[in-house]
Symmetry: C5
Subunit: 363 residues, 5 copies
């Protein structure tokens, strides 16, 4: 549930509009260097002061955006610009990277398990400073569990020695990576739909295809600015981004580009599939109408002929001729044969129809 | 009602073409600094001279563009270039930002409550000078009420200390923000239409979808140059724009980008929905025609057979055979059964149709 | 009528291909400065030499391109590059701005009263030199009448003091301005068509919509390079363009951008309208077929039943049963009722159809 | 007939793949300066050495690419990079301009008489060196006949004094110019099709429209890189391109841009036409079905009523009532009238149909 | 079979995810200079140390990515960044070129025999260092056989003297070249489909067209970044790329651009073809329905007339009139004639239909 959009128009910039239903913030801190790694949950915010200027790297992970006072206090402790704090709290924002004097602010959005076009994708806001990273999540998302493990177990590895910009990369890489399984699911669903839609385009399958296209539209809207933000980050000449992290950010940008390209390919394929379904329906209409026209064209004239001699006029000389009945039957056979011959000549029946018949059998 | 477009072609540039029906200008002035805030309505234009060179910040808000002499006098007092004044008065203009020697002119357009594609969106023109801002509105729009309140109550806050460029940002931010609720309404309407169009594409719903697309086209036409203007402003190296306002303008640009991206997503989704409705109609035609073809194909041959023995030939040997009638009835049953078997084999009836039947029931 | 395109391929560049049907050139001269304004028609071309190097500004307006010798002599007098002269004479050209050493050549195209996609839009070529402007028109177009008046009456105003580049701007502004009423006409026609096409898509209206789209395609093809040419001019660092004219050229560029944006919006709306008309036709087909299917499905079985007892077999025991006739009538009523019940359950008739019925009534 | 594409994959770069069916090279030489002009056919290739370093300008025109040894020897004499020679010989290539140390290589493609989408467009490769131009054509094309004449007759004109870069421009200009008549033919064909498709969309016309679209796709694919190559050439700061040739190259670029814009407009119009044809077909289906539904809905119930009284039950009291027959006839008239009234109310017949009837008459 | 995408999200960057089913690496080494060429298979990886710093050029070709330890040891020996090694091993990657300090990493993808949209295209990763090239392939692909031959036989040729960057070009050129035969196959298939779809759009052909479009979508998704990577390489100012290789890389970029342009043309043509098939189906529906409507409209009224006089009322005066039967027959003829006249006037039969009849005969 998003907050009433009108309420915040014209409000002070930086006004915090807490996401409805978000739990109160839980602050978890990782402080680590190559050798040591300390991990704890912070209850008294003032303890955060200790992390703002140490030699080791600190990751302050904030889960839940449900209490303005806490968030504002965090903003003050880390000297976060009100606009930056508002970007972190007033979800959902557009993915972006903004360079401030003392930190770089990164907004990222990623699909977690599935995409519901009516619900905004989870947002994570990452603030990279000289010796710490602050991340804001609307509530606990599973995205970062693996990164936490890597920090715990990674003594001596880049995750422990790379500093805040490497940590920020690791977090972003996870988020960008979460597009992949979602896109593969969509691609698999599309393959399933393909078989059904090409054989028998039913409303359920058409609606399912529409739903896939809508999901892809949402993903594209977010994946494109995500790619731009990563491009900007990977070319940033800024002391906050360690030079040895640049190839990693380029790699993440590359992954984000791939996401966009796959989304666009899938959208194009979905459009092609819809065209094909439409034409298949058009072909099926033709087949149904041909059957009707054949039946009607053969029997309607015959029925008329029978109707003539079903009339009760007293003075119908044919009625009393003994050869009239067989003659009429013969005439009927000739008319029916003529119609069949005509339709065969037009290709509606006979030599060329069997394949079409087979085709329409799989409906 | 727009003025006759031909009348102004080739006229002197800067000729003021007053918007039809616009009330005479009401001039409201806010003069404020961190501590003080004075607010009044100006009746004698010459009093405006006092505001052109003070140390405090002044916002001259002009509501109504119905009297040329007043507007021209304002232009003279503030030394506004005739083209700039014409941009302010000759609504509607395209959103833009133009840098003049002593001021920056910004034209912005925003939807107020709803979008009527046949009526131009409200325009606000904002002129940012060294120590004042002049804003022009065709008539009183509610856009800026909240900004006024913030100025009144904001002693010590940026709105009072940020100078003209911050005020201009605050006004632009409000205008950009007004796209959001409109876009959410359109998105909600589209969700409603979606259900109806996927179940039963009726002309009313098709027309409603067309109306949404048309609104989105209008919004896109304005939102794109709005985004460009904000990009230009946020990168402007100009003493009129205070450096500390730059992040705010970047934020507004970001919001404007989001507007464009949402509009484009909604347009794509509307297009996908139209495709799906078209295919659903194609499927429905098939279903209707199948029923007709089934009925006709089964009963037309039977009726013909009955017609044969309804003829009045004197010499029809079958008529007098006692087993003829039951034999014919049996033949009819065989023919009907054969047709049903044939259509079942083609998948028109039986095992595979129930889902389709269900589907078409929800019409 | 355009000249045979093949004849000029491979000809000397600068070969003049006179537009078929263009009258012989009439040369009209305006020589003016802030105070004085002299206006006359030139019969002896050599008199033009007097205008090439005066302190006042001269506008040489050439109406008609029907005589090569005259045009070539004018080219010599004003030292016009053969390619530039060919651009002026060999209409139609693409809108553009080309900088030569001593002048800037501008090709502009604009719709005059209406757009006929089969006839090229009028072209005006404007050559801006240090102290004169030469304009070439295929024949007299009404575009510049108002500019002439403004020169005559404008003593002391920019049109008299702005020099050749201001005059060129004034001419271009008129041409760009002529798109506006045409686009408004198209927009109005589209509104009219909209009502008709959404209610009842007939071939006439479909063709009318096609014609509008074709006009818009032509306009877009010309409006886009026109915009580029004006962008180039407004950013040109060239002594031939006075710096104080730059804001005017920016304004004209802005107007040209608006033209392009409106054209593109109208084209998109026309496409959306076509989609909607197609879906409306699909819906209408369904409605017509439902009526047919209802009638046929109810009466065809009944007619068959009547046919059975119209047979003349001697041995049909039912015929002599007194209760047979009313029983059959009852059976018929049951069959008809069953069909109606079935179609009502499928939603083809009854509770849910009235809206659709109403809708299809407005055809 | 193109050579087997697989055979050349992975071959040495610069391997010459002679176009199948190309005649052996004929080498024609034009050596000229402002006053003199010598023209001859070269049989002994070694004579070409004389032309590589003279003060006059030489055009070596090679017609036919059927003999590798000749081409390789020419490459050696003029010191042509193997890749450049391969670009000239291994037709078809993409249009481009490549700057080598001692020459500029230009690949151009143009339609000669008509476009067959299955046959590559003729290619001409032009190599511009300090004092000579070498052109390669697959076989004799008529493109350059007029340029040859202009050289012969052009004593003192730019074609004789402009040097190699002017000659290259002249050749390119001819090639770019050959798009124009082809595009006008396509435009004329489209106008013809338009009338037919809007009145009566038949398969022949639909196929013809498809063919036009396919031709336009091919032309666009080549015209776009052609435009880019000319843009690059006209901005090239290279001693091989004389500065006074720049405006000519700009002019050719302009022409190439116009080609692209016309192609894109025609493609858009063809798409609009296809949409309109589709909707026209949809409308026609409706009209046909309305006639069927009207006939069936009026007569099927009447036939049923007649069928009732055609039954042979002994006990049908109505049969013996004298007023029964006229009563039934009256009832039939009422039913028929009621159906007609109903369809008239729905707008299928009567007041509103005449226009539609007229419209469908022109099929 | 691709590895489970979720398993690698959030893993250490550079984690090797071996492609399922890839055989263990086979390492083949070519060491060559202008005169000598040694070729062998490496079993003890440590022997590779000998190649990392020689004066001759070495190509280390690794076929198969099925054993992590081997790949990691190769990475250590050649000092490959973990991300670069991951790009080489974790197939499929997006085509790209990345510049590291000591080498340039190039990822390329190409179709080998055919394109199956559900199977990723083969990937080759090429690492160009100062005096060696390392290439990684998922398994043995035939791409490079011809390059190997050229090295063996090419004493004194560029392939032997051009160093690592020329070798890298040669490998890339082969990969880019493999698009050509695939695209020609698709183009040929499209030509075949064209004939069928324009004559008789059946579901099989529609599905085949859909498959072609899907293949083209996949190819486009890879061909575009391939082109970008080659553009970047051909403009790279880097000592690892020899200056004399630049024209070769430009040539490869040109080829890649052509691939993209052909893919896009084919996609457009496929879309046009689908439109045309849809309209052809619409026309065919009309033709079928016209036949049905003609038959029904002529015979249904006649049958009704016969039905009237088949009634058994005792009191039908016409029944006993001797002229009644011939009169009725005449009336029937008149009604039938009237219907035929009406349909002929509407253009459904007669003068204007023959062409349409002929057309529909070729179904």
């Amino acid at each position: 549930m998003t907050p009433d959009p009108e309420s915040s128009i014209g409000a002070r910039p930086g006004t915090l509009v807490l996401p409805a239903g978000s739990p109160p913030p839980v602050v978890r801190v990782f402080q680590y260097d190559a050798q040591t790694c300390e991990e704890r949950q912070i209850d008294d915010l003032e303890a955060l002061h200790d992390y703002a200027g140490t030699a080791s790297t600190t990751w302050i992970d904030i889960q839940g955006l449900g209490k303005a006072a806490t968030l504002q206090r965090i903003g003050e402790i880390f000297n976060i610009h009100r606009l930056a704090l508002a970007d972190a709290v007033n979800v959902p924002q557009r993915p972006k990277a903004e360079v401030y004097d003392d930190y770089v602010l990164i907004v990222a959005r990623a699909p977690q398990d599935d995409v519901d076009p009516r619900v905004p994708l989870p947002q994570v806001c990452i603030l990279v400073a000289r010796n710490y990273v602050v991340s804001f999540q609307e509530r606990y998302f599973g995205f970062f569990d693996r990164v936490r493990e890597r920090i715990r177990e990674g003594a001596g590895r880049p995750i422990r020695t790379g500093g805040p910009s490497y940590l920020a990369y690791a977090l972003l890489d996870v988020l960008v990576g979460h597009y992949t399984p979602i896109l593969e699911d969509i691609s698999d669903e599309m393959d399933d739909l393909e078989e059904n839609l090409l054989a028998n385009p039913s409303p359920q399958h058409l609606t399912a295809l529409y739903d896939l296209r809508r999901k892809l539209t949402v993903l594209r809207r977010l994946a494109r600015p995500q790619r731009e933000a990563l491009l900007q980050l990977s070319h940033l000449q800024n002391p906050l981004i360690a030079p040895e992290v640049a190839p990693y950010l380029r790699d993440a940008h590359d992954h984000a580009s791939q996401n966009v390209e796959i989304i666009e390919s899938l959208r194009d394929t979905a459009g092609d599939l819809m065209d094909t379904a439409l034409a298949t329906l058009g072909h099926r209409s033709n087949e149904v109408m041909k059957v009707l026209t054949l039946m009607a064209s053969i029997f309607i004239p015959l029925t008329f002929m029978a109707g003539i001699y079903g009339m009760n006029f007293q003075d119908m000389p044919e009625l009393s001729m003994p050869e009239a009945y067989p003659t009429l039957l013969a005439a009927m056979a000739i008319v029916a044969g003529g119609m069949i011959w005509y339709f065969r000549r037009r290709g509606w029946i006979g030599a060329r129809t069997p394949p079409a018949m087979d085709a329409s059998k799989d409906q």
